[in-house]
Amino acid sequence: MTRSVILTTLLIVAFLGQLAFGYRISGVRPPWEVLPPTPSPAALEASAFGDKEFLYRVLVLDLQNFGDTGGHSTRMADYDMPRVVDWLKVLDSLDVDANHHMMLATQYFVFTQDLTKLDDLIRYVQEEVPLSPARHWRWLLEAVYIAQMKRHNLPWALELAKQLSSYDYPDMPIIARQMGAFMSERTGDYAGAAAIMSRVLAAHEKDALPGEADFMRDFIESMNQRAAGAPRENERGLLPSLP
């Protein structure tokens, strides 16, 4: 009886001790950082267990959710963008053909309130697309938009647009092929614009819609006229001037 009472008392005391301890440490949180450092190539190789695609899908979901787990949410401006780019490159090493991390780069992290950080993302896209151009050319369209409209960096937008126009894949819409011409026109390089559009017309005149082909011919003629010094009012206003 006495032993039973002692054991029961000890059990109750232990349980109450746990309750008190749990209450005491309920405010303790593990150290938390928005974006952890990237793993080394050796660590990645070991973690993959021979299946890099699986590790890619795990890590890309992590990257998507970094900063917004465990009851936290993080301002986009508080992300360390060079480290975000490091993570994107890690994902490239696991699956260079996937689009999920490219979408994060061009349609998720770009919503940072600190526009200077966009340069890291644009540079990443510019360097990454040549690694898998057949699958990733479309992200250059996003990069052109970001460079032109958010960073107001027309020379850089032109560089990206020319890079996009240099590709020729069956699933590319015609506007992607023409982008170099349009951006050249915006920067005042009318001869260059005409040259690019001529190349597109020569390659795709047969499969372009009739209206599209007429537009391209008209564009080339206009650009050649402007390159020769003709004033602007002699042509149809093809594009509105930039703000």
Binding site: A42, E45, A46, A48, F49, G50, D51, K52, E53, F54, Y56, R57, V58, V60, L61, Q64, D95, D97, A98, N99, H100, M103, L104, Q107, Y108
Partner: protein, 251 residues
């Protein structure tokens, strides 16, 4: 031989291996589809990769645990002596036992194959993946059967099986260290050891590539022939080793 194979299958049914593992696989696939829905892009790719990668591990662990405990029970109840006392050679016993476990492995891979066919984006990729997983299961059950019949106890068998599986999937990582890592100091001794290990451990890192399920079978990643050749060598090797060890035992 047929009665022994049937015995293994009946034991699996009795232990509710199929019911429990099918349930676990269904949960894994369900969670994978759920997680895939959380991705802002390529949801289907994510779902099929998670489902395939997760289910593969559970199937292999299930085979290891079942084989280990089943053989341990054979020794504990002395059923193995009763079986070998009949007109069945030890060679026939080992081969028929492995065949029974192989059939179980194939039956466990079937629902996973159905899932990857449904969720996947490439039919040929799903075929390659499923076949490679079956081959992986055949090699793994041969190894675990060898350990189980040798060690006679479930716990060390499970540790050996899991360790072997992990090592077999890490072979490319080890080879990478040997080829590109440091070559001085203690690595002068370790590197040749790891290289030798890579010669005797099957290359399970080449099997079950979930990339096949997403992008189909690309020329530079179609390792199915290699895996089939590996299984054709490794399974007889392990079965012979098992027979050799069983013949030395006195029941």
């Amino acid at each position: 031989m047929i009665p022994t194979i049937r015995f293994v299958l009946v034991t699996a049914l009795r232990d509710r291996l199929f019911a429990s593992l099918f349930g676990l696989l269904a949960v894994t696939i369900g969670i994978s589809v759920f997680l895939g829905g959380g991705a802002i892009m390529e949801s289907r790719e994510m779902a099929v990769v998670y489902a395939a990668g997760g289910a593969r591990v559970f199937v292999m662990l299930g085979l290891i645990v079942f084989t280990a405990f089943h053989v341990e029970r054979l020794y504990d109840t002395r059923e193995i002596e009763a079986i070998l006392a009949r007109a069945i050679s030890r060679e026939s016993f080992v081969v028929s036992y492995w065949t029974g476990l192989a059939v179980i492995g194939i039956l466990l891979v079937l629902p996973v194959a159905v899932a990857v066919f449904t969720l996947g984006l490439s039919v040929m990729g799903a075929v390659y993946w499923s076949v490679s997983i079956v081959l992986e299961a055949l090699m793994l059950v041969a190894f675990v059967l060898f350990c189980a019949l040798t060690m006679e106890r479930a716990i060390p068998t499970i540790f050996a099986g899991v360790g072997f599986y992990v090592l077999a999937r890490l072979v490319s990582f080890l080879l990478g260290i040997v080829l590109h890592g440091r070559r001085s100091g203690v690595n002068e001794v370790i590197n040749p050891i790891f290289k030798f290990i890579s010669f005797i451990v099957p290359r399970l890192d080449l099997a079950g590539q979930t990339r096949w399920l997403v992008y189909g079978v690309e020329t530079n990643t179609s390792f199915l022939g290699l895996i089939a050749a590996q299984a054709a060598i490794y399974v007889p090797l392990l079965l012979l080793a098992t027979i050799f060890d069983l013949r030395r035992k006195n029941f």
